[in-house]
């Protein structure tokens, strides 16, 4: 048992470190380091522009999408090298946020199902960040129940005509392309009538409307499709096989290891270390210490769980299922951490403006963004189902709509 790199890993790390040190946008390092959930803007620069510039620079030097094949804009690196890169990239990795969906989900789906000429055309600019992609799955009638989606695709000659609405589409407002899951046959059971496409988000008939979130910010969108035409060669997988194609996408989402989920703990520990309560330093208060200790072991437990997965990668093995707990644990933890940080502030906790609030309002921002982490990318409940079914081998839910033609499934409870 050790935490040492193999000689090859050490060499790779040294090369990555040297390149990052010479090329990273250091002027933003401190600000990025201090950013936390709900608060990732830069004061004097547009973070999207900074992120795109950094991604392009990485791509030009062969440091983008490391695990992708070279011909598609990657480096052909091993999974462990990708993890080492992430470790070395450190706070600059936060600039990759806008590319996560494209690199983590759209790219791998394209790689698995797109025609060769499309892969060569679309993947390199996706890797370099010149083009941003989004994923159009969720709908008002199909969130956790993605297969309940209603957006129609109807064949018209060599094209498909799309009508319907997507929702919770991260980054659609700055995306160039998207992968789109549609219903092509409503007369068969819901999982069987789906088909996947990719499309140009600038196509006529696509309308993107940002959603104002509970936090006040807008990271997600509604996307409306009115007679949008997609050529058949942009279909991904067979007609009616969209569900299986989407599983590839979602598997990739859950396989991303080492990205490091944020728990809010380092921020809270730092805060409590200097905070004075009425009776003395917060860090010396029994109740505070107990809370901190409980969160400390969750945060360290996640850290070392991820290291176990990395070790498996390092040995060329497939990581076990233990990594599936990350989002579930971190999501509700960061919400609890933010709530507690405000509790420690007393009445002053209500003040959230960065100029007037405690520690520039980072915990207020965290509190308001946190509910989303428990919903996006699979709700806590879906994550528990996944652990129960795929890890523990418990039976799947009894699905009353499983064998019913989609257009016969009731749409209202009463």
């Amino acid at each position: 048992m050790n935490f040492d790199d193999t000689p090859q890993e050490a060499e790779f790390r040294a090369t990555a470190r040297a390149w990052i040190s010479a090329n990273a946008p250091k002027q933003y390092e401190e600000e990025l380091r201090k950013s936390s959930l709900g608060r990732t803007q830069l004061k004097n620069a547009n973070i999207l522009e900074v992120a795109k510039a950094w991604q392009k620079k990485k791509a030009d030097a062969g440091w983008a999408c490391l695990h992708w094949p070279k011909e598609y804009g990657g480096r052909g690196a091993s999974p462990i090298e990708r993890v080492i890169w992430q470790q070395e990239e450190g706070p600059f990795g936060k600039l990759s946020h806008m590319f996560i969906i494209g690199h983590g989900m759209c790219g791998p789906t394209m790689m698995a199902f797109a025609r060769e000429e499309h892969k060569r055309k679309y993947l390199p600019p996706l890797a370099s960040g010149e083009k941003v992609w989004c994923q159009l799955f969720s709908e008002p009638a199909g969130g956790s129940d993605v297969a309940g989606l209603r957006t129609r695709a109807e064949k018209d000659g060599d094209e498909w005509v799309i009508n319907g609405q997507k929702i919770w589409t991260s980054g659609a407002h700055y995306s160039d392309y998207g992968i789109l899951l549609t219903r092509t046959d409503p007369t068969v059971p819901k999982h069987k009538g789906l088909t996947m496409f990719f499309l140009d988000m600038k196509s006529p008939g696509v309308e993107v409307r940002p959603i104002k979130q509970a936090s006040g910010a807008s990271d997600f969108n509604e996307v409306y499709f009115t007679n949008v035409r997609i050529p058949d060669h942009q279909r991904l997988g067979e007609v009616g096989d969209g569900w299986n194609v989407s599983l590839t996408t979602l598997m990739n989402e859950r396989m991303s290891i080492g990205a490091g989920v944020s728990t809010g703990f380092p921020e809270l520990f730092e805060y409590c270390s200097s905070l004075m309560l009425d009776d003395g330093p917060a860090i010396e208060d029994r109740a505070v210490r107990s809370k901190l200790a409980n969160w400390a072991v969750k945060a360290s437990g996640l850290r070392y769980t991820s290291m176990r997965a990395i070790s498996a990668l390092s040995k060329g093995e497939r990581p076990g299922p233990e990594n599936s707990i990350g989002k579930l644990v971190a999501g509700s933890m960061i919400q609890d951490v933010a709530t507690y940080a405000l509790d420690l502030q007393g009445a002053a906790g209500v003040v959230s403006g960065p100029e007037d609030a405690e520690v520039a309002g980072r915990f207020q921002a965290m509190l308001l963004r946190a509910p989303g982490t428990r919903v996006e990318g699979g709700t806590d409940e879906i994550m528990r189902n996944i652990i129960a079914e795929r890890v523990l081998g418990l039976p799947g839910d009894i699905r009353v709509d499983k064998d019913v033609p989609f257009n016969k499934i009731p749409t209202k409870g009463r």
Binding site: M1, S314, G393
Partner: protein, 375 residues
């Protein structure tokens, strides 16, 4: 990076699991649970023969001379099997105290006897309510004899010797405490069995009356040695707890698959599935924290104090959580003497207290994290 046990260590774990499945079935555990024997003597002998008791004891003292990582994988299996033997008292506490502070003669006398299964050892630290603290040690040592009462002492009634914490000063500081080694069969002690939460592991009250004792380690160094012993034991116990948590989770899972209610497997209800998923989450966090503790223990890293506290807290929580909800999954049957669920519940809640309570270790963890940050 290789943050995992080696293939040899995993093989040792499999070997221990197989051995314990055969020699330490729930039926065997119940002999002790029902009070028909103070511990499983046959199993103890078998563990010695397998080399498990002395796995981390150097060869020159009769052990296998493997290491703490090997001991960790065996500990996990001991916890999984809920073994009714004085393993933790003897191997994690007494043997480790000897390894840290024993003179050559003391090591020669006791360590080979531990490895061969001839001697059972324990640590006599607590004196009634309270957590590990120099101020809670009232038993006195003067002129080579001890006077005072220790309780509870794990496995105290079956132990051949004890490492005893005694007061040798009155400054109210760590330096007031010294450790002593007492041959419990040599007279000067009265031992009383205490009814306790987990009958598969005995607890005793030991009264020392002018009891002859020899110093273990330097005078005034007792608290510093104890702290090291408790840290090591925290990691090793964490592995037992992880093993117990995993077993409790498995039992719950298996029952949820087997039991039909409302015309379906109860494991198909989300209320049950989610409870089991949460048990998996805490068991996984505990395992990962314990692995880090194992690394720190095996390399004697500067991170050991913090890693040990984290492993202790996480594993304590996980075992309690899994043992408690295993009963819940079983419903009424889980609350019967006949089903094995309560054995894990008892063990989980006993282990949660043995080295100091959860709140004590929470406090320790924060102290140690602050120290690290200050450094």
């Amino acid at each position: 990076m290789n943050f995992d046990f080696s293939d040899d260590q995993k093989q040792l774990r499999d070997q221990a699991r197989k051995f314990l499945a055969e020699k330490c079935s729930p039926k065997a555990v119940r002999v002790v649970l029902d009070g028909k024997a103070p511990y499983d003597k046959e199993l103890w002998k078998g563990l010695a023969e397998m080399g498990f008791l002395g796995v981390a004891i150097p060869e020159e003292f009769g052990g296998a001379g493997a290491g703490h990582l090997e001991l960790c994988v065996i500990a996990e299996e001991m916890g999984r099997a809920n073994a009714p033997v004085p393993f933790s008292s003897t191997v994690y506490l007494a043997a480790e105290a000897l390894l840290i502070a024993g003179s050559d003669a003391q090591k020669k006398k006791w360590l080979p006897a531990i490895a061969s299964g001839e001697a059972i050892g324990t640590l006599a630290l607590f004196e009634g309510k309270g957590n590990p603290s120099p101020k809670n040690v009232k038993l006195t040592a003067a002129n080579g004899v001890l006077n005072g009462v220790k309780k509870p002492v794990a496995d105290g009634a079956i132990a051949d010797f004890a490492v005893v914490a005694a007061r040798t000063g009155s400054n109210g500081r760590d330096g007031d405490i010294s450790l002593f080694l007492v041959d419990l069969k040599a007279g000067g002690v009265e031992v009383k069995n205490l009814t306790n939460l987990d009958p598969t592991r005995g607890q005793a009250e030991i009264t020392f009356k002018d009891c002859k004792a020899e110093p273990l380690g330097a005078a005034g160094e007792g608290w510093s040695i104890l702290t090291q012993v408790l840290d090591r034991a925290a990691v090793l116990c964490a592995f037992e707890q992880v093993g117990g948590a995993d077993r409790a989770l498995e039992m719950g899972r298996d029952y949820a698959l087997d039991r039909i209610a409302f015309g379906r497997q109860i494991g198909s209800f989300q209320a049950v599935k989610h409870m089991l998923a949460d048990m998996y989450v805490s068991a996984t966090l505990a395992r990962s924290n314990s692995y880090y503790g194992a690394w720190a223990l095996s390399t004697n890293a500067a991170e050991l104090p913090e890693a040990a506290a984290a492993a202790r807290i996480s594993a304590t929580q996980a075992f309690q959580h899994c043992a408690k909800n295993n009963i819940q999954v079983h419903g009424g049957m889980g609350f019967t003497w006949e089903f094995d669920c309560h054995m894990y519940y008892r063990r989980a809640n006993t282990m949660a207290l043995g080295l100091g309570s959860l709140s004590y270790w929470e406090d320790q963890l924060i102290d140690r994290m602050r120290k690290k940050n200050a450094a």
